[in-house]
Amino acid sequence: MINRLTIPIVRGLLLVWLAAMPAVLSAQEEVQAEPRTRHFSFGITAGMDRNYHSVDMVYMSDMKFDKFRTGTVFGLRLGYAPLKWLSINTGAVLIQKNYHMDHVFEYYYLRYSLNTTSTNDYVNIPLELKLSVGKTVRLHAFGGVFGGYWLKGHRKGVTYSFSNERYYSFDEDYEFNDKRDNRIEKGFTWGAGLSGMILGKIEVGAEIRWYYSITDIQKPYMTNLNPRYNTAVAFQAGLSYWL
């Protein structure tokens, strides 16, 4: 769902942003007037992210998680700028935090190769402070916190049945386990970006942002719990309208 919607939106926004840059650079007078006299903004953002699923595999040396896995990002944002150089931002972001596991092993001189790709949809709500400098093209650095909810999981891959001595592929929605799965997440977000104004009230921007979760995706249901964390790095472009 997110993939199908977001990819064309991201492409569109990037095109808009690239197309807008000459206008931004040639419209200095207009830019200087905005957004400093305006306080509130709302907008949309979209992009892609690369998620790193952090899990210590202890003695399971033949199971490996990819360092990063690609997902998509789509969000709504709200901003309030009490000062020229400072704003407070929030919003709601649909973001995928995906990961992939390869499990390759040998058993009686035969080599088996199994894998699972896990696709996970989250909604993240960031709350952050943004510092901005510049005139024509403004540079931003921001940092804050986010809360999130794990909306949906899906997994597909290939596994092997020793009972039937054959490989099976699977492609299924992940059924949440109330004892194990921690669907609430929280963490820190930070990043940097640049933007410019077009048409007086519209800010076009792009940013790189980290979502660093500090909550295990599992509930503390056992003493020797091996924690798992997500870290998503999102590349986003967006439009904001200043009121």
Partner: protein, 415 residues
């Protein structure tokens, strides 16, 4: 720079460290306490039924660690007895739902081991000798074949023909005490009833001389009362030859990590017939009791999936999780059996005999969690027959086998 510093700070301070975990297949224990800790962790990581089990495993650790520490503290002046050792371990494992579960625990000072099987609590012992004796006296029985086994043990499998509904009609009967047939390594005499019933080749193809392929045979009765299971390959090879197409009987899953609930996806469990199965479909009845275990129970689930199949008898044992006793598979899926399969080893160096000096262990536990097509698990519960006929020891002793009679009645009358 600031972002990098912030990132580092957060990474150090906000996330929990992974616990120090070791593969329970690789460890050697030098004390009661170590043995307890290693086995507790091994079960913690390797047991496949944590989602179903009601045992509070973390509480067991807190409660029984001091007991094993006290054993170590007693020293040689007041040694731990085998009974105390067994009682302590029985408490640790009490109530685990896995009915295959067995822990074999070596005590190096006593040079002895104890075996703990928390699920093995059958209400009675199947009196196979009496049931077979009644079978042999049934009117109209013919073509009876018993296997002969080495070392003068009792026969373990039987096949025969019993009267069907109409004149000249027959029911093919097969009984065996374990799924342990090995065509490549056992003699024909050992497997005589199997050959009579299926006339199989090594691929499980049914031969023309098989009882089940006779034209006058109208029904098939397979008796797995008191059958303690064995190799799943026996189902895939022999029982499967009663089918004409793939039968999807349920799903299996393993664990894919050291977390108690790190489960894989469910995989279909499918039984596939050989190229030449039974010629014509016939009604099949599987006769079960409370001592029908493991592969017998999987066969009961298979029989319930067949439109021409019925299960008769009593609720089965409740140990349906397939397993690989070989601990090598633990190093692949990180669940199931673990430990030292040679823990009883004695060895001789320069004329002196030594026994295993470690507090060794072998934990035998299901590799797979098995459910039927409705995702119902039978672990610790057993399979309920379509037609329930309770075990009756007194009637059996008096020469009446009600379960067998009811199974034959169904095959003769279709109800």
């Amino acid at each position: 720079m600031a972002i990098a510093a912030m990132s580092t700070l957060m990474m150090v301070s906000c996330r929990k460290e992974a616990p120090v975990l070791q593969n329970p297949n690789d460890l050697r224990c030098k004390s009661y306490t170590e043995q307890f800790q290693v086995i507790w962790e091994g079960v913690d990581q390797s047991y496949v039924f944590w989602e179903r089990d009601t045992v509070k495993w973390d509480t067991r650790y807190d409660r029984y660690l001091p007991l094993f520490q006290a054993f170590d503290a007693r020293g040689t002046a007041n040694p731990v007895t085998l009974d105390e050792y067994k009682e302590a371990w029985s408490k640790v494992f009490k109530g685990l739902v896995d009915h295959h579960f067995a822990a074999i625990l070596w005590e190096p000072h006593l040079k002895n081991a104890v075996a703990i099987s928390p699920g093995h609590k059958s209400p009675y012992q199947t009196d196979i000798a009496q049931e077979v004796s009644i079978l042999k006296r049934m009117p109209g029985i013919s073509d009876l074949t018993e296997n002969t086994v080495p070392e003068s043990k009792a026969p373990q499998s039987w096949s025969c023909l019993l009267p069907g509904k109409g004149a000249g009609e027959k029911i093919a009967y097969f009984r065996f005490t374990g799924f342990a047939f090995d065509i490549k390594n056992q003699s024909r005499a050992e497997l005589a009833p199997l050959y009579a019933f299926f006339d199989p080749d090594t691929l499980g193809n049914v031969g023309d001389r098989a009882l089940i392929n006779r034209d006058d045979v109208k029904g098939i009765l397979i008796d797995v009362r008191g059958n303690n299971g064995g190799s799943f390959a026996n189902i895939a090879t022999f029982i499967a030859s009663l089918l004409h197409k793939d039968v999807h009987i349920g799903y299996t899953r393993v664990k894919e990590g050291v977390g108690r609930l790190d489960y894989s996806a469910w995989l279909p469990a499918v039984i596939t017939p050989p190229k030449r199965p039974i010629k014509n479909e016939k009604n099949i009845v599987l006769l079960v009791d409370a001592n029908s275990m493991s592969c017998s129970e999987i066969t009961a689930v298979l029989t319930k999936c067949l439109p021409n199949g019925k299960v008769v008898g009593e609720r089965t044992f409740g140990g349906t999780g397939p397993l690989w006793p070989n601990t090598m598979l633990h190093n692949i899926f990180y669940n199931g059996c673990f430990g030292d399969t040679n823990l009883f080893s004695f060895y001789t160096i320069e004329g002196r005999t030594y026994s295993n000096p470690d507090y060794a262990y072998y934990v035998y536990t299901s590799t797979f969690d098995f459910v039927d097509l409705n995702y119902e698990s039978f672990e610790g519960k057993g399979v309920i027959p379509d037609i329930v006929v309770p075990y009756n020891a007194q009637e059996l002793k008096a020469g009446t086998d009600k379960q067998l009679e009811r199974a034959l009645e169904y095959l003769r009358n279709g109800k």
